[in-house]
Symmetry: C2
Subunit: 271 residues, 2 copies
């Protein structure tokens, strides 16, 4: 089973001053996990070329297989992601003919619909077509800035816009099929709620379950006290080469854990 | 004006498999920004001692003043934050008398209220009182695991639980006053919506405003097209040593930018 390591880099001051909740990283993490990938780290950096470049280099040094960078592809002065990527990979930023065509078409369409007066390629518009040398432009079915795909040795760096609807559209249209080409894993998860047991009582039961079921992962999430009764959500997950194997592993582990919780005096299900 | 650099490290597999949205990092980023601090980076790592330790070391090497780590302080096998901190700082993990007293009291209270049967200090419970040598335990007014404060030279490392309500309570009770003691900055922000102008048209206007107002920060967030009319949210922010100065800087820049947008044919306000 090939289990590729993914990292996510989110770029944007708005994510670090508390204005914006990073729903993009969560969406990416969820879909990558469901595709059977392994998300090892997510980094959020400011709109700063050096910060972006360092984060990318660090990620490459950790041996990531797929690096997904979101945000900072637009036309404004602080959209600096591609400058950061170019710096990290020591590649020149050049006007990419394919990307320029994509951008040009978008503005022609906007002018046609009366959204803008002139479709001319101003510096701010050309900026979105300046890609690190050797990039492949990915069509943006929603907005203007193309996505960007770069092969760096056997690693892939994928840059997506920060606007969620655009990020998701490019990921679905261009990236999912690429990932599926190299990885064919199945992810399965199931959660239960346990009441009447606190996390410190649950801890040794989880450890015992894991020692019998080393190929699953179990995580407990305490949910507080409902009328004085503690409630914990327990999630069991597995990745396997077959959907049925992943499912069986999760179900087996969960059955054992549930029995032990009941034996301890806990209740399965919400109170 | 002293402008301290903050970093946030969020620990937890659930943040990297898409189960949980990282609202903790956003809450921390927002409150630190409002306290006049500068959040430079946020890193999300898995429940892995080496990953946690590397992220902490990297952050220290970047010269962070305050490192806030959230998640991984609980009693289960995968609560590994303090092991990671101990490894990064090359300090021993020892049972902290103060922390043990806090933990013990919590379980006595739970037993008293009939939530648990026995308040005895099991290994899972003692685990929450094993802190890196030289730590200061911070009372947790809501849950069981104490927060942890470590002085490393002139840098502060603060570990908080991942359960949002506990994280926030400890931050408010113990951390805000510490930050205010060393930093006395004021942050001001104001946003407007512009319609009838696209981001590539707005870009040169923002640049011109910034060259006249170098002490503010301006960020545009395209909001899509309402009935064919583009809408952009523009946020202007400043940090200064006086509240009135920060406010004036933001207002001056915003007035100039608004005039330019109107001159260009755009409209201020939602359409």
């Amino acid at each position: 089973m090939r289990l590729d390591a993914f990292e996510i880099i989110s770029v944007g001051n708005e994510l670090l001053n508390g204005k914006t909740l990073n729903t993009n990283a969560r969406w990416l993490a969820k879909i990558i996990t469901k595709l059977g990938g392994f998300v090892r780290r997510c980094t959020v950096v400011r709109d700063d070329v050096d910060d972006i470049s360092s984060a990318i280099k660090e990620s490459m040094e950790r041996g990531v297989n797929w690096l997904i960078v979101s945000g900072g592809l637009g036309p404004t002065y602080d959209d600096k992601t591609l400058q950061g990527v170019a710096k990290a990979l020591n590649r020149e930023l050049i006007i990419d003919a394919e990307a320029l065509k994509m951008v040009e078409k978008k503005y022609e369409l906007m002018a046609h619909h009366g959204i803008i007066k002139k479709a001319n390629l101003t510096p701010a518009r050309v900026k979105m077509a300046k890609l690190p040398r050797g990039s492949k432009a990915l069509p943006n079915p929603i907005g203007t800035a193309p996505g960007v795909m770069i092969d760096e040795g056997d690693r892939k760096i994928i840059c997506l816009p920060g606007v969620p609807i655009e990020m998701k559209a490019i990921f679905k249209e261009s990236i999912i099929s690429m990932i599926k080409k190299v990885m064919n894993n199945f992810y399965y998860e199931e959660s239960v709620h346990a009441t009447g047991i606190v996390e410190s009582e649950l801890a040794p039961l989880i450890e015992k379950t894991l020692s019998n079921n080393p190929l699953v992962y179990i995580k407990s999430h305490p949910k507080g006290y409902e009328e004085g009764t503690p409630e914990i959500e327990i999630q069991v997950t597995a990745i396997a080469e077959e959907s049925s194997i992943a499912k069986k592993r999760v179900k087996d582990a969960l059955e054992q854990l549930k029995s032990m919780i009941i034996e301890h005096g806990g209740i399965i299900g919400r109170c």
